[in-house]
């Protein structure tokens, strides 16, 4: 009989299969329950006993058995092949082969998880704080604090196995020590989600991880919920670094099998809904997209800190400060801002331009232009890797901030500026318009350098206009991370749709 596992089976030693037996028992217990008493037999007898208890071919059952026996998420081709072999020859043959080739690592336990499983891989690995990681940390900390049965998991570097977090990872993901103590420790385990709720608050651009998340969403009969940040790498690939659009497409292919995407803004929902609609061509329906806008919170900064930052940065000379927060990648459109600022300086305006943000892909033109302007004596400050206190102080110090990005899922710098009571000059579309309009923002076409220069000049000159805009910032609804985490959790918890049609 054709069987892909058969050649391996024939060379196996008959003994020393306890690890494989345990993996088989874990799978059988998850799928069939404990009633059968899987401890009574072992070895091939156990395989036979389990086989006779399994019913009609079912890819989800294939997934669970393969995952437990291989201690990793199986490839979808393996699941399909196993299920087809089951259909043709009965389950015992492929199961015996999978059991025979199973080589569990000694001391590593398989845990079939059926609660809420939250994938925080990148956030756990990174000491940096991107927008995505910030959302992940703030949300996950509150979920762990407020709910039981939340497991935090992380993929290995190959993207093949899910495991519980290490101490270091937990300390990077969960923001306070008390809550951190609530994280269930899963040392030396391989986690297999089954009938679970799988939550992806970050994104994945690692191929194997994306593929495996797709497998979980498709085969594990779990509810799958993601926070959707944006689709920029595929809708605005001209602003994405090399390789990003391809890897991001695989991430979207994984999301195609999800139940819900909680998008961070209405503009981001527009992107995800459009993408979900595209799936119709492949006969897929895609996730429900529900906008859950990120919070609009500012940090309280005392006046002493503001005064200290003002003098440290030499901004205490009575000249107004224009602030721009964002990395130096092309999408943030800093080149246009620099050109507009230069037009104002030439026109005789006096202001400090403070740019907060790190180096990024494709920033050669930016660096060159800053150098040229500095050489010409323009008052530009480049700050990177500064603390939160400095950033929040700068929002207080600035007369206005500028954030004329070409595409954003949310646009944290818009909200941070407005929540600090500082008017912002921002782009006249998408999430930036959504956040800023009527809340103290001036909207402008980010491709139009003269328009940006004109508004910049007006905002530097017109005190009454700044006052009006400052008052308008008070209308911004100040929602909190608690509100946000609660609203996403409601989507995590909601029962699966009864019928998938």
């Amino acid at each position: 009989m054709p069987n892909p596992f058969a050649p391996v089976l024939s060379v196996l030693p008959p003994l020393g299969r306890e690890g494989a037996d345990d993996a088989l028992r874990a799978a059988a217990t998850a799928v069939l329950g404990n009633a059968f008493g899987w401890r009574r037999t072992s070895g091939r007898a156990l395989v036979r006993e389990v086989s006779s208890a399994l019913g009609a071919p079912d890819p989800t059952v294939s997934y669970v058995f393969l995952a437990c026996l291989q201690q990793r998420i199986p490839r979808s081709s393996e699941i399909v092949e196993f299920t087809r072999s089951w259909r043709l020859d009965g389950v015992e043959e492929p199961l015996l082969a999978a059991w025979g080739s199973s080589r569990p690592k000694p001391g590593v336990r398989v845990v079939v998880a059926s609660g809420v499983v939250v994938d925080v891989t990148e956030t756990g690995r990174s000491a940096f704080t991107t927008g995505i990681q910030r959302v992940t940390r703030e949300s996950v900390t509150r979920w762990v604090r407020d709910h039981d049965d939340v497991d935090l998991v992380s993929w290995d570097h190959a993207g093949a196995r899910l495991a519980g977090l290490t101490e270091l990872e937990a300390s990077r993901v969960v923001l306070d020590a008390d809550t951190r103590r609530r994280v269930r420790r899963l040392p030396s385990t391989v986690v297999v989600p089954y009938r679970a709720t799988f939550v992806l608050p970050e994104i994945t651009t690692q191929g194997r991880r994306s593929e495996n998340i797709r497998t979980i969403a498709r085969y594990s009969r779990s509810r799958a919920v993601a926070i959707g940040h944006d689709c920029i790498p595929v809708t605005t690939s001209e602003t994405a670094g090399p390789g990003m659009a391809g890897a991001f497409s695989k991430y979207l292919a994984a999301l195609a099998g999800f139940d819900v995407v909680a998008s961070v803004s209405n503009a981001s929902a527009t992107e995800f809904r459009g993408w979900a609609q595209m799936l119709g061509g492949a006969g897929l329906s895609g996730p429900r997209v529900v906008p859950v806008p990120l919070p609009r919170q500012s940090a309280a900064i005392d006046d002493a800190t503001v005064a200290r930052v003002t003098s440290e940065l030499g901004l205490d000379d009575g000249v107004p400060t224009v602030l721009a927060v964002g990395s130096h990648e092309p999408r943030k459109n800093h080149l246009t801002l620099l050109a507009a600022a230069e037009l104002r300086w030439r026109a005789g305006d006096e202001f400090h331009l403070v740019l907060v943000g790190g180096n990024a892909w494709g920033d050669a033109d930016f660096t060159r232009m800053v150098e040229a302007l500095l050489a010409a004596g323009r008052p530009i400050s480049l700050l990177s890797a500064v603390g939160d206190d400095t950033v929040w102080s700068l929002y207080r110090i600035a007369r206005l901030s500028v954030f004329c990005s070409l595409n954003e899922g949310f646009g944290l710098p818009v909200v941070e500026s407005l929540a600090s009571g500082t008017p912002v000059l921002t782009s006249d579309f998408g999430s930036m318009r959504e956040l800023g309009e009527g809340h103290g923002a001036v909207l402008v076409d980010p491709y139009d350098v003269h328009a940006i220069a004109r508004e910049l000049g007006s905002l530097l000159e017109d005190d009454a206009r700044i006052e009006t805009l400052r008052r308008e910032t008070g209308r911004l609804e100040r929602s909190t991370w608690d509100d946000y985490a609660k609203r996403v959790w409601e989507l995590v918890e909601a029962p699966s749709r009864v019928s998938e049609g």
């Binding site: 797709r214 690939s237 001209e238 391809g246 497409s249 695989k250 061509g281 492949a282 037009l343 003269h450």
Partner: protein, 508 residues
């Protein structure tokens, strides 16, 4: 002055003069290159008109700008004064100019015309999906007074449009009736590239008939955004994004680059309602980035097969004693789902049904190795199954003629040519129940299933093998069909994607 320098100056002066004429800028009598550029740069800097900046870039560098090149020149001009406009223009274009061999190029401004971009078909000897569409469609417009156009291709270094050579025209217009031998053009030397004659569209309409090469997407994107031309494209499918799980990352990456051009065009003509829907859904994502979405229209591909193929199929006499034949035609890759068909056949063979199944289609070794190994195992079990990687037209037509039905249960297609072909040959089809395949099957003659459900494929293939009434019913449906011709497709494409964009003043 050294002769090389003199030639450079002459070429630059000539390009700038062309631009001056196009923009109606008066130049001093017999200007030097510097004098001409001084006048033109000053005027373009003052107007700040993106169209003029785009054209000035072509004049200075001899290449179409990418968006970043355009941005550099625009910033340089924005920050210039009338006195420095000339130097700023050179400074803003130097980076683009220094990366190519283009300094001796001449330019011809093509104003108020229609340009049809057939780049790949002009330059390469390859003929599958997209090339077949182009090579069937474009010849329909030749010699038609109401379809005036020029065919264009990109320079080999992918920096600007040129006209086609005789050999290139032959590849596009006479694919099945060649005047020249089927061999590739010699590679362009740096000298060839440096002296190329560019066609520069101005207030013209450009129809891009292929999915453009990755290397020209930035140039096309800048052209669509900043030049005064209108652009239409044929939208084949969004498979590399929607079904990214079935393809390598770099194909999805290239497709995203294509989308960053496609989002700026005026019209996308989807090759099926389903392909059009995919692009419409993509267009609906664009307001989030402030981009005015393109208009999406549906121009469904032709479904006819050549008369010689049809005659060949009709001449085959089928021996009723042969076991029923199932054929499965299409390139071999995961998306086409051949594994599921083979599995279904295996189930039916085990059930004792008597039939022969033949797979036809090329594929990478990575995609075919396991499949072919499985086929030989099944042959040893006595199953009548074959897998052909290459098959001549005559053999393929003979298979269509003999087949009881064909199977094409792909997971995602832009159009589903194999279904249309099978029906045009009079052979019923088992196909998928969604997307473009659902559309092409809607004319009748097909049984449809969910291609992700093995059991439904098994059941449908069983019914098609044993139920003579079902099959003769399908034949009845096929008899009533009239395939759509390439002439009709070419007409519809012109009417929907070209004619509406042609400026009225050009027609008058």
């Amino acid at each position: 002055m050294r002769p090389e320098t003199t030639a450079l100056h002459a070429a630059l002066r000539s390009r700038v003069e062309v631009v001056a004429r196009t923009l109606s800028i008066a130049l001093p009598p017999a200007p030097t290159a510097a004098e001409a550029l001084e006048v033109v740069a000053r005027r373009v800097a003052a107007s700040a008109d993106p169209n003029e900046i785009w054209l000035l870039h072509v004049a200075i560098t001899g290449v179409f700008p990418e968006p970043d090149d355009f941005g550099r020149l625009r910033r340089a001009l924005v920050l210039s004064t009338p006195a420095t406009a000339y130097l700023s223009a050179l400074e803003g274009a130097i980076e683009a100019a220094s990366q190519v061999f283009a300094s001796l190029r001449s330019i011809e401004v093509v104003r108020d015309e229609v340009l049809v971009d057939v780049d790949y078909c002009a330059r390469w000897e390859h003929n599958t999906g997209i090339q077949r569409v182009v090579r069937h469609t474009v010849p329909e417009w030749q010699g038609r007074e109401d379809r005036p156009h020029r065919l264009v291709a990109w320079t080999e270094d992918q920096t600007g449009y040129t006209s086609l050579t005789e050999r290139q025209l032959d590849r596009v217009l006479h694919w099945s009736d060649r005047r020249f031998p089927k061999e590739l053009d010699p590679r362009a030397t740096n000298r060839d590239l440096e002296q190329a004659a560019l066609l520069v569209p101005w207030k013209s309409t450009i129809l891009v008939t292929e999915v453009p090469a990755d290397g020209v997407c930035p140039e096309l994107s800048a052209l669509a955004q900043f030049s005064p031309n209108r652009v239409s494209i044929i939208g084949y499918d969004a498979i590399p994004l929607v079904s990214a799980d079935t393809l390598p990352d770099d194909e999805s990456e290239r497709f995203a680059h294509f989308l960053s051009f496609a989002k700026h065009v005026d019209v996308i003509a989807g090759i099926s309602g389903s392909a059009a829907d995919e692009f419409r859904a993509f267009a609906s994502m664009l307001p989030s980035q402030g981009v005015e979405p393109p208009e999406i229209v549906t121009v469904s591909l032709a479904t006819e097969v050549s008369s010689s193929a049809r005659a060949a199929v009709e001449s085959v006499v089928v021996d009723p004693k042969e076991p029923p034949l199932i054929i499965c035609v299409g390139s071999h890759e995961p998306r086409k789902n051949q594994e599921a068909v083979l599995f279904a056949a295996q189930v039916l063979f085990r059930e004792g049904l008597d039939f022969r199944i033949v797979f036809v289609g090329s594929g990478s070794r990575q995609n075919t190795f396991r499949f072919d190994a499985k086929v030989s195992r099944l042959q040893k079990e006595g199953m009548r199954v074959e897998s052909h990687r290459r098959l001549g037209d005559d053999d393929l037509w003979s298979l269509f003629a003999r087949a009881r039905f064909s199977v094409f249960v792909s997971l995602h297609e832009g159009f589903g040519l194999p279904v249309a072909e099978s029906l045009a040959f009079g052979t019923p089809v088992l196909t998928s129940d969604f997307g473009s395949l659902d559309e092409v099957a809607s004319v009748g003659g097909c049984v449809q299933v969910d291609p992700r459900d093995d059991e439904s494929i098994v059941d449908a293939m069983r019914r098609l093998l044993v139920d003579d009434e079902l099959v003769s019913g399908l034949h009845g449906e096929i008899t009533e069909q009239t395939p759509k011709s390439w002439g009709e497709y070419a007409d519809e494409l012109w009417q929907s994607a070209v004619a509406p964009l042609v400026r009225t003043e050009a027609v008058v």
